[in-house]
């Protein structure tokens, strides 16, 4: 059942639309220090921070681009002064963005930027059956979860990235930020090539078959990288598309199947007849399809007929489960993307990091809202929200306000990620230094 997502439980006085609420959040809860270290990758402010663009949204629609800051203190000061409803992170330029007017226009050039991805539920409207538009529930989140798993695996195993941060976008999508040094310095061309590699599902509303990745050879194998992804999502396809979402129920579902599968007329007609009575589930249909495949295979596992058919079932699974990324976001260094830990203005929810190993169980509606967090802060200090490991109340004095709120596990997760990024950054620098020393001999 679709669960609508109004900004539930936010009392009027704690609405994300209220400037006082936002200001209280920025003053007491936003994790400035790990945020700075995440972008800067070391303690001393470097170009990664000082030459970085921040874009603020003020009020409903005023957009202020090209802010940049010398250090995290300046950044915080400005956030508290301007009190943006949200802000976005851009690239590192060759010139400090706020000084851009002091140089000729064409001189300003984005140089570095985390590699980012954006997956949005609206791209799944044609495959999900539970909700549509801006709504999202636990059930359709399954598509996002499957996408995250595949993309995460492919970015790590194939492309060799290590430092991926997945961040819930506060409403119906998820972002990924990759902070590896060589991800930062990818050119737009290189980013585009990677995105094109990952764009397996392609085509608008009018295109029925959206997966065409065999270079026109419909009996050929999949590129092994996609094949690996397929292995990862097969089980999710059964669990989510067939069983939970029941994507191929009714006549419309039947027609979708028949349009995507490579079967002859007679078989198609016989299925159509068989499935015409209502109550034949997607799972029933799929079993029929599989046993037909098994028959073809018996007749000849290398026959073109079988290969064609089995390829078409693979393509169908990819079409339903392979990540549908918003390609434009990833292709260019100068694309702005909403920062982690800002508040989604519509839902009031915090954009929190998500752990990939737990993404299946992630509950978007359980992400804390700014109102909830401020209420938790309002609770008397003697009753902290956070328990120690042994279940006892933490005896020590809490250093930060957020530790008393349900934001804590998310910030802990973030800090763990940041520590790893910084460690690698340090090691990379050491290697450079060592090689310099050895050159001096």
């Amino acid at each position: 059942m679709p669960v609508p997502m109004p900004a539930q439980g936010i009392g009027h006085c704690h609405s994300a639309k209220s400037p006082e609420v936002m200001l209280a959040f920025y003053r007491r809860l936003f994790p400035y220090k790990p945020f700075f270290l995440w972008l800067n990758q070391e303690h001393v402010p470097s170009r990664l921070f000082t030459h970085r663009e921040f874009a603020f949204t003020l009020g409903e629609s005023t957009y202020v681009r090209y802010n940049s800051f010398n250090n995290v203190e300046d950044f915080k000061k400005e956030i508290l002064r301007a009190n943006p409803t949200r802000f976005e992170i851009g690239p590192i330029y060759n010139v400090r963005p706020r000084d851009r007017k002091s140089v000729p226009q064409h001189v300003l050039r984005p140089e570095l930027r985390e590699l980012v991805f954006d997956i949005d539920m609206t791209d799944y409207d044609e495959v999900r059956t539970c909700c549509s538009g801006g709504n999202i529930c636990r059930r359709c989140w399954g598509f996002i979860a499957a996408a995250v798993k595949v993309l995460d695996q492919s970015l790590r195993d194939s492309f060799g990235f290590k430092h991926l941060l997945w961040v819930y976008s506060g409403r119906r999508g998820i972002h990924c930020w990759i902070s590896d040094r060589h991800a930062l310095s990818l050119t737009d061309d290189q980013r585009r090539s990677l995105v094109q590699f990952l764009e397996v599902v392609k085509g608008g509303k009018e295109v029925a078959k959206k997966v065409n990745v065999r270079n026109g050879n419909d009996i050929g194998p999949l590129n092994a990288n996609i094949e690996h992804a397929l292995d990862t999502i097969k089980a999710d396809f059964v669990r989510i598309a067939l069983m939970d979402q029941n994507c191929f129920a009714e006549e419309k579902g039947t027609e979708t199947l028949l349009s995507l599968l490579a079967v002859d007329r007679d078989t198609a007609d016989s299925w159509r007849r068989k499935w015409s009575s209502s109550g034949v589930s997607s799972m029933d249909k799929w079993q029929e399809i599989m046993s037909y495949g098994a028959k073809l295979m018996k007749a000849g596992a290398n026959s073109a007929a079988f290969r064609k058919f089995s390829n078409s079932t693979e393509d169908l699974i990819l079409q339903y489960m392979y990540p549908r990324i918003d390609a434009e976001v990833s292709k260019r260094r100068n694309h702005l993307l909403k920062s982690p830990f800002v508040i989604h203005p519509g839902t009031g929810r915090v954009c929190v990091p998500v752990e990939v190993s737990k993404v299946d169980d992630f509950e978007p509606t359980a992400v804390p809202t700014v109102g909830q967090l401020l209420r938790e802060l309002d609770r008397p200090a003697g009753n902290p929200a956070v328990k120690g490991e042994d279940g006892q109340d933490e005896a020590r004095k809490l250093e930060h306000d957020y530790e008393r709120t349900s934001l804590k596990p998310y910030i802990d997760l973030f800090e763990k990620h940041v520590t790893a990024v910084m460690r690698d950054n340090r090691e990379a620098k050491k290697v450079v230094q060592d090689s310099k020393v050895s050159l001096d001999f």
């Binding site: 064409h106 195993d157 194939s158 492309f159 060799g160 990235f161 040094r181 060589h182 310095s185 990818l186 050119t187 061309d189 290189q190 585009r192 090539s193 990677l194 094109q196 590699f197 990745v213 270079n215 050879n217 050929g220 194998p221 999949l222 590129n223 092994a224 990288n225 996609i226 094949e227």
Partner: protein, 508 residues
Amino acid sequence: MFKATSRNPQAGPSSRPGSGLGSNPEVKINRRLSGSGPSSRYPYRLNFYERPPTMDITLEEFEIFAISRLKVLTQIHALLDRSLPPQQYRELLSSTVKQHAALSSNTARNVRLDEERRRDEVGHWVLRLAFCRSPDLREKFIKTESELFRWRFETDDAVEKQEWLKSLRFDWVTVDQAEKSLLLKNLASCLPKNANESQVMGDHYVKVPWYTVPDLVSTRRVYITGGNAYVPQAYQISLVLQAFRERLGKALEMTAKSLPRMDEDDRLMPILSHLSLSFLTNISANDNNFFGEQDPNSEKVTADMVDALAVKHFPACQYNLWRRLKRDRHLKHYGRLQFGLFLKALGLPLDEALVYWRRGYGQTMSDDKFNKEYKYNIRHSYGQEGKRTNYPAKSCQQILTGAQPGAQDSHGCPYRHFAPEQLQQLLVEAYPVIQVGSLELREVMDSVKKTHYHVACTRVFELTHPGNVKKGEGIGGGNMVNHPNEYYNKSLEYEKESKGMAEPMQTD
């Protein structure tokens, strides 16, 4: 981190271009025994241009070598833009390269290899100096140079190519048999149709960071794991090209930084500016000024003939001036100059020119005024007055980049200086085969929109000479229009050819 680095000691930063040419004190003695055979300076046909030329270069060579290379690059740029069928593209490219930038392999006979290769090298380096100055120029230069390089790489002798690759010592890791058999299925899955696993074992694979071969990644032609792309032999050109582009890109930026020092050399700067201006306007620089003289081969043209020639053979710019003069009985200064020199170059002698212009102005001007003011100017442009300079007719480049026409002016290049509606009007009026709303006209207007004015003009030439040139052949041999008189001469030539062919058929 992103470049396929070379361990070649000669490629180190110390030997990177300083001020460009001749900054390297190294002296090489060519162990050349006869007029042919590769020398130690140019052991291979292919060249990454890592070392600036060290020999003395005369100013004349400086310019000539650069201009002939520029011709090739502008041609490549135009060809890339025209989305021709691959076969035709290759043919046209091949003929231009042969004509202006031939490079023979070591086994070639009767060729002065060293001379060819020196030409190639100097040309490349001069253009580097000319084109390092703006991001636009750099981008265009890299694009066209790598296309030229690609073509040469693909046409190179297989053995020499391997030797050359070896000499560069790329940091490519060869994938050994054990790893190949481990990844067998994965590697085979990326091969084109009908390839099989045994092919993988027999092939020479290298592994490189995936981002060094973006074109192979985007088309999923490689297997990628652990950040590495596994590249079979057939695709290694991608790697070489990527390295070529990257090194050239970096070198150009460095040259740009050191260029200001060269500004003092006032012999070189005018040449360099001229070259870069040509490149920006997509026109190859003109190395000949034979249009200054009347072409001795051209037949005598009389005032009476001009109208007939105009409708048949004039490019848009001159057609426009011709009809303006007819309609308004007047042309402003630059228009008179542009049209007058054009007429002179196509063979209208001074006495006929005086007749033509006198008639052209008609009753709007008294004989007295004509004789006093205009006659002198016409004689002057024929080198009969004043300094007695024989002025050459204006080239497309001069027309495109010279004085911009003001509100009352009619000179310039219509493709560049007209509003789209006016241009379309002019074209359908001047060239009846071009129809309003036709696909062809749209194609021409597209080129105009992309600021490829000479491509548009060349396309019109093709359209108006359907029996003589096919699409892509330009004014012949794939050449672009780059001088109005060239346009005219070619048009006339084709007319004669067609007639010559038609006549014998009439005799029974």
